[in-house]
Symmetry: C2
Subunit: 151 residues, 2 copies
DNA sequence: GTAATTTGTAACAAGACAAGTGACATGAGT
DNA sequence: ACTCATGTCACTTGTCTTGTTACAAATTAC
């Protein structure tokens, strides 16, 4: 559990959801991700609130895409997850009195801000459809559906 | 304790160490950082091994800079700390079988790698002397040494 | 209308990791 | 010898994602 893997997991799931029509239950998705149905619901809740997926209770229920992959960027998913902390490092004190510490924090914050901006800009520039297309390319190259997990 | 603040703390300490000649004990430094002497020794150990500071036991002992600030970049300090994890996010699985997951991870890893490269390049381009100079500028502007913590 | 299925949610344990803390050995100066 | 200071081990604490159990609520099937 070293990293926050929610973004990675949700991207993975959304693309799979696009590849079969019918609703996917939390249990199916959990098996795909090697995790627990409750974790799935918890994490997907953010995506539902932002309108990227829908969920239905009862028989035949489960999760469905609510938008085409072409209209969802990686940044959208990141935002829907509540914009989790990107960095593992940070200042020791957010409001230091010491001017030296302020100067140190300013330099670090600036560098991190620039790096974060670059990362988010990249996430915003890639749609899920693009990743799906890359996958399709690999698939036809190998012509072997078995490589895709649980699909 | 939300973030790993070792880099921020060490930069702060090194600049202060340059401002007074005599050795600084772990206890003095700990007070400055609002922490514990053991934490200070633990964290400074990496800097000592890389030759940026020296430590001496016994009376009059403590920590001293072993190099001028102009020869230490923020990246040097980061590396000396053992290159802690920069990002809080990451893939769910490092060696996934699923091609979809592989495609997702590849895109994320690429974006993160670029952001990391940018960040490290920036850290490598700034010496501690430069931060100290920024501090001096502020100081003369305010002409009030009291703003600096414990110095 | 009762049973089966599936989400929604709360509550809590596990795991990881930096940070905090206490204890004690080691070395250096007075 | 005594004091000061580092070096290091062992353990606890705080925080955050995950994992898990339990149960209510909604929806479909028989």
């Amino acid at each position: 559990m070293r990293n926050d893997s929610r973004l990675s997991r949700m991207l993975h799931v959304l693309i799979h959801m696009d590849r079969h029509q019918d609703a996917a239950t939390s249990e199916m998705i959990a098996k795909m991700l090697n995790t627990n149905p409750v974790v799935v619901r918890r994490t997907m809740a953010g995506l539902r609130e932002e309108g990227y997926v829908r969920s239905e209770k009862g028989h035949g229920g489960g999760w469905r895409l609510a938008r085409p992959l072409s209209e969802i960027t990686l940044l959208d998913v990141y935002n829907a997850l509540g914009e989790p902390h990107l960095f593992a490092i940070g200042p020791a004190d957010d409001q230091p009195q010491c001017l030296v510490e302020q100067a140190v924090n300013a330099v670090l914050a600036d560098a991190m801000k620039k790096a974060e901006a670059l990362l988010l800009r990249r996430l915003g520039g890639v749609t899920l459809e693009k990743i799906a297309a890359e996958f399709e390319a690999k698939m036809t190259a190998r012509s072997a559906a078995a490589y895709s997990c649980a699909s």
